[in-house]
């Protein structure tokens, strides 16, 4: 009834998703896609944690279950704050291109 899968398959999926998210965050100029790339990376980390929580016995497996809850909470607050900042910045600039925000230090 119980079927098995190689732990490294889970980690490989997590690695692929993480690098896809990294590529999105690095290559896309649209600020929404940039934020979504970061969300994808956070998701990949969650998957990695949960995979390892199945691989370790005892107390270690609890950390793998607990950490994603914190990460989800942080991602939620990050999305709220980030999108609020995007709205504020875009209002003055009329552009969603992250390169257009490069002059913020001035």
């Amino acid at each position: 009834m119980i079927n098995h899968i190689d732990l490294s398959a889970v980690q490989a999926v997590a690695a692929v998703l993480f690098c896809l998210g990294l590529a999105v965050a690095l290559t896309r100029r649209n600020v929404f896609l940039l934020l979504m790339g970061i969300e994808l990376m956070l998701n990949a980390v969650n998957l990695s944690f949960i995979g390892f929580s199945r691989g370790f016995a005892g107390a270690e497996s609890l950390f793998g279950q607990m950490t994603p809850i914190f990460i989800i909470a942080i991602a939620a607050s990050e999305a709220c704050v980030g999108l609020a900042m995007v709205i504020c910045i875009v209002r003055g600039r009329e552009s969603l291109d992250s390169d257009a925000f490069a002059d913020m230090k001035e």
Binding site: M1, D6, C19, V24, L33, N46, G55, L83
Partner: protein, 273 residues
């Protein structure tokens, strides 16, 4: 019929979800518009939720659908549509740095898989003597090897040497090996009333320390509503699909209403009412 499918259905589900997640991730990378990217990302999150459930983490699976796909992505879609910039049609800009960031983890991930497939699985060759049966069994979801000795009757004490300089006592006990390798565990039975059952026996086996091993998937019946187990999980996936469909519908309706919206009336006409 369903039970015979059980043994293969779990990995099939995992492959399905992993494939959908990776394809949707690729879709996010190549999306023409942020709203398409958001729909692809919701697809990734729903399939990840399925993988979490397969990995026996149903609470996180539900949280993933509720918080990520539900709350966060709804907020993202909402803000994208508030700041509607449908004319944005940029394609991703690949420079050498981002190509490296894309390819390197892919190579590492598949090296990990191929390396681990070649790794030896746990094999137990029990060599019982003197009426003793040493039957180590392995709980595949953990690194603990479980040792069981045959019952030697009243008064018997069981002493184990696990082969890694650790020892223990008891008829049935588990031991976690810190390192993978071939170990010879020794069982010594003494004090049994039946003298023939006293003695010692050894067992040689290969223990694979996690995480270089296999992990158990939840039974495939999780996706079977008729089953008594956590078959309700399918309902959460359905809720997620409905959520996705509602997002797509909202986008389609909004685009249609934007396309057919009448030009804005001059401000002085509204002032009279």
């Amino acid at each position: 019929m369903f039970h015979s499918l059980d043994a293969i259905l779990g990995p099939v589900y995992f492959g399905l979800f992993a494939g959908i997640a990776m394809l949707c991730g690729l879709g996010l990378l190549l999306a023409r518009h942020p709203i398409n990217g958001a729909i692809y990302l919701i697809g990734v999150m729903l399939s990840l939720s399925g993988i979490y459930a397969l990995l026996n983490s149903p609470f996180l699976a539900v949280l993933q659908v509720l918080v990520y796909a539900g709350a966060i992505m709804m907020l993202v879609v909402f803000v994208i549509m508030v700041l509607n910039q449908a004319k944005e049609h940029t394609i991703p800009v690949f420079d050498w740095f981002s190509v490296t960031a894309l390819v390197l983890p892919l190579v590492l991930g598949f090296a990990l898989v191929t390396n681990n497939v070649a790794a030896t699985k746990q094999v137990f060759n029990a060599t019982g003597q003197a009426g003793l049966i040493v039957a180590p069994a392995s709980d595949q979801s953990s690194s603990t090897v479980i040792f069981t000795a045959s019952d030697a009757g009243e008064g018997a004490t069981y002493a184990w040497e696990f082969g890694d300089k650790a020892s223990g006592a008891g008829r049935e006990l588990g031991h976690a090996y810190a390192q993978s390798g071939t170990y010879t565990a020794k069982l010594t039975v003494s004090g049994a009333k039946d003298a023939a059952k006293n003695g010692s026996s050894t067992v040689t086996f290969r223990a694979t320390a996690v995480p270089r091993g296999e992990i158990a998937l939840l039974s495939a019946t999780m996706f079977d509503i008729r089953a008594k187990g956590p078959g309700y999980y399918l309902l959460f996936e359905l809720v997620g699909v409905v959520l996705l469909a509602s997002v797509v519908g909202a986008v389609v309706l909004a685009k249609r209403s934007l396309a057919s919206a009448p030009p804005e009336k001059p401000a002085h006409q509204e002032g009279h009412h």
